[in-house]
């Protein structure tokens, strides 16, 4: 059985990787497939989302599959499916220490984390994205692994062209990779060091304890443990010599003290015990008998973890960004993003919108949207602008924080407004020609108009064409900011004012 478990893990890891890689579209708006599907089956995300936003998304009901499966078989998701668990197992191979001492009490931490986060979700703060294993793995792939892959690929290509500079054409393997796997351009993300470090810490915690994350921290594992303790599939132990081999091999910490003190909620069905048992005494059978129950969390601790979420609620909301009257100028959300307060409740920081963005303009925030909004997506036009005919980010969002929009709809959505700094704009400042912003403006009735204006230069009036932004036409895509020749701080830049999704963040009467 252990062999089948490993095969299943490999299949799901490859599945996630391929879904992740194919969450892209280079030439049009059709995505072949998307890694979002994985997130639909995550009950922790679904419950947190529903509690926080008081809404139900139909596709997230797919997570009932996982719940039913867990009710029948136990935490099979953790042992056989979860890609982060698989990575943990892989890194765990490096951990050669035989006797790991599991403190039974430590296994409780993940339940406290779960209760704490669900308590917070009730108050409207959704932190599931930070700690959900699927969200962690997809975000880490997007923000750190994939850009590194890109960098390596482009560096190799540069070396190749340097060595064989006379080659007429890029090699076929290059064009294939570029068209289907890698981006044509380099990809960069803010927060990559932070997100990468967390990912590495989670993975290398396996050197302290195999599946450290799964045993002590994972809130999804805790949720499935609560359901899984009632599972029908039960472990049965026959004649036993108390060799304790099974205890040493146990991935979940279910056999933490001795085989007689087993905790079904911690069993992830890794099948190491059935495999290692010299007498083949361990087997899993469907049985109606009631299980032995789960870890005793303790009434006091349970209460503390739920009630502390109230305390943290105030802490999270102490930031000015959570005030509806405050709008952060550079917090430009992708087109289709819903109202800011709902957006922060819905977004699970999986980073797929950043992965799929063809221009690499969507970046993870740090504290621009408050602490609860960390790693949510925002557009940084100076890095790149939002492509006029693209709506890919809205297609991949698992929780509709960026709602589904058509390209025609997108053309009408205003994500901000371009502002001109006349002190830096070259025609205004120096009386010379420029108007690059006007040239690149994609709105059919250009949102940047050119006007002849007299500019005083050395006591003479020079008549030059200057740009003027028509706020009602501008959609805030930021292509003007991207291409403005004024370096460092551009003379034209987008701020969030006027964004369609907000009632408050408006400058004009109407």
């Amino acid at each position: 059985m252990r062999r089948y478990r490993i095969i299943s893990q490999a299949i799901f890891l490859v599945l996630l990787l391929s879904l992740f890689i194919f969450t892209r579209s280079s030439t049009n708006n059709n995505i072949f497939t998307k890694a979002t599907y994985f997130l639909y089956f995550d009950p922790y995300i679904a419950i947190s989302y529903t509690l926080a936003s008081k809404k139900i998304i139909t596709v997230l009901l797919l997570c009932i599959t996982t719940i039913v499966l867990t009710a029948i078989l136990g935490r099979i998701f953790c042992g056989w499916v979860c890609p982060l668990g698989t990575l943990n197992d892989l890194i765990g191979l490096l951990n050669r220490s035989k006797s790991e001492v599991i403190k039974k009490n430590h296994l409780r931490y993940k339940y406290y984390i779960l209760l704490f986060s669900l308590g917070l979700a009730l108050t409207g703060i959704n932190i599931s994205g930070f700690i959900d294993p699927l969200s962690i793995i997809i975000r880490s792939f997007t923000i750190i692994i994939y850009p590194l892959l890109n960098l390596t690929f482009h560096s190799f290509y540069e070396i190749f062209t340097y060595l064989f500079s006379d080659s007429e054409l890029p090699p076929r393997i290059y064009t294939f990779l570029r068209d289907y796997i890698i981006e044509n351009h380099r990809v960069y993300f803010f927060q990559s060091i932070l997100i990468g470090t967390i990912f590495i810490v989670i993975l290398f915690a396996n050197l302290i304890m195999k599946r450290f994350w799964c045993k002590y921290m994972c809130p999804l594992g805790a949720l499935l443990g609560i359901i899984g303790r009632y599972s029908i599939l039960k472990k049965e132990i026959g004649e036993c010599r108390d060799c304790n081999l099974c205890q040493m091999e146990c991935s979940g910490g279910a056999i933490s003290i001795s085989k007689s003190d087993e905790i079904p909620s911690e069993c992830i069905l890794c099948m190491n015990c059935t495999n290692i048992c010299p007498d083949e005494a361990i087997s899993f059978r469907i049985s109606g008998k009631s299980g032995k129950g789960a870890i005793d969390l303790g009434k006091r601790n349970t209460l503390i973890s739920i009630s502390s979420s109230i305390l943290f609620y105030s802490l999270f909301r102490s930031s000015i960004t959570s005030s509806s009257n405050f709008s952060s100028a550079r917090l430009i959300r992708p087109p289709g993003a819903i109202r800011e307060d709902l957006f922060v409740r819905s977004c699970i920081k999986c980073g797929l919108c950043m992965k799929v963005c063809i221009n690499n303009c969507i970046q993870p925030t740090l504290f621009e949207a408050g602490f609860e909004g960390m790693w949510t997506p925002y557009i940084v036009p100076r890095i790149n602008y939002c492509e006029y005919n693209c709506n890919l980010c809205s297609q991949v969002c698992p929780t509709d924080a960026i709602r589904k929009i058509t390209v025609e709809e997108k053309h009408r959505i205003k994500i901000g407004t371009a502002q001109i700094d006349k002190n830096r704009c070259l025609p205004y400042r120096d009386g010379i020609g420029c108007l690059v912003c006007e040239e690149v403006c994609p709105v059919p009735d250009k949102a940047i108009k050119r006007e002849k204006t007299g500019v005083q230069i050395n006591n003479e009036t020079r008549y030059v064409l200057v740009p003027r932004v028509v706020s009602s036409l501008c959609i805030g895509c930021g292509v003007c900011e991207k291409h403005c020749p004024v370096n460092d701080s551009p003379a034209i830049y987008v701020t969030s004012a006027g964004e369609s999704r907000s009632k408050e963040n408006q400058n004009y009467l109407e």
């Binding site: 030439t27 062209t161 006029y388 403006c441 059919p444 020749p485």
Partner: protein, 294 residues
């Protein structure tokens, strides 16, 4: 440095040959051919016929660069990019004349993959065997221009090394340059901080014509963009003229292109700058223009 000198020499030689050819050609050989019609393939064929046949431009074994305008993520009907069927007609003509390979590319402003696809140019050109590649930043080579404004500027290697270059612009309005035609289309083969050229667009473009000398320029006026250029996006601004203008002299083609917009070429700064520098002629009255209607 040797390589650069060689490139410059070869460009000068090609340029010299072109001038020589013009002097030798007989009286009937027109400077510009303007073709109006509905079938793009036959428009291209008959235009070349009056210029001495495609074979007088493209020799067997030539490596040809076709440079359309693919700058924007717009579909063909918006006239923001060169007509894809005009590009493919030229690709076909080049291969029929014996070209070894035909490369098609442009330094796009919008996302390159989107532009290549949505313009229809990648699919159409590849159908007839052209090599359509995205711009590779490492292939720009600094070229000594010694112009009035531009002393040196990075130019795409493939253009410098090509045997023949066919410039295929689309006729559009443009904010700072007023019109974008053949000369402005050269901005798609240069690298560097192109946006800075806007500060003296007329002289910068004229300087580029010192080093980038297309063998032939084919102006796409099948659809022209009459307002909100060069991006467009509104079909109201598009005018269907079903016309192409072909000539050896890019400046002359541009001067003629102005007439589509009712603009005098004397009002277009870069055309005048080119005329002054002698990289081409804009005095339409003294040019032999052959007009055909199919």
């Amino acid at each position: 440095m040797k390589r650069r000198e060689f490139l410059q020499n070869s460009i000068l030689t090609i340029g010299g040959l072109m001038v020589g050819k013009n002097l030798l050609s007989d009286e009937a050989n027109p400077d510009l051919v303007v073709v109006k019609g509905s079938n793009i393939n036959s428009m291209v064929d008959s235009a070349f016929k009056y210029l001495g046949g495609i074979k007088s431009f493209i020799k067997k074994g030539d490596i040809v660069v076709i440079k359309p305008n693919i700058g924007w993520d717009r579909s063909p009907e918006y006239a923001a990019n060169t007509n894809p069927f005009l590009v493919s007609a030229l690709v076909k003509a080049c291969f029929e004349a014996g070209a070894k390979s035909v490369k098609v590319f442009d330094h796009t402003v919008n996302n390159p993959q989107r532009c290549y696809k949505n313009s229809g140019i990648k699919d159409e050109a590849e159908k007839y065997g052209a090599t359509v590649t995205y711009i590779d930043e490492s292939r720009f080579k600094e070229v000594n221009i010694k112009g009035e404004k531009l002393k040196s500027w990075p130019v795409y290697k493939d253009v410098l090394e090509a045997d023949k270059v066919i410039n295929v612009p689309v006729a559009k309005t443009h904010g700072i340059a007023r019109l974008t035609l053949g000369i402005k289309n050269l901005m798609g083969v240069i690298g560097g901080s192109r946006r800075r050229l806007h500060q003296d667009i007329d002289q910068s473009l004229a300087d580029l014509t010192l080093v980038i000398k297309p063998t032939i320029t084919v102006l796409d006026a099948i659809r022209i963009l009459t307002a909100n250029g060069p991006t467009g996006g509104d079909l109201k601004d598009v005018k269907q003229l079903n016309t192409i203008v072909i000539g050896r002299d890019m400046v002359a083609v541009d001067a003629f292109g102005c007439t589509f917009f009712g603009i005098d070429s004397k009002d277009i700064g870069y055309i005048m700058a080119c005329h002054k520098m002698g990289t081409g002629r804009s005095d339409l009255n003294n040019l032999k223009i052959k007009r055909i209607e199919l």
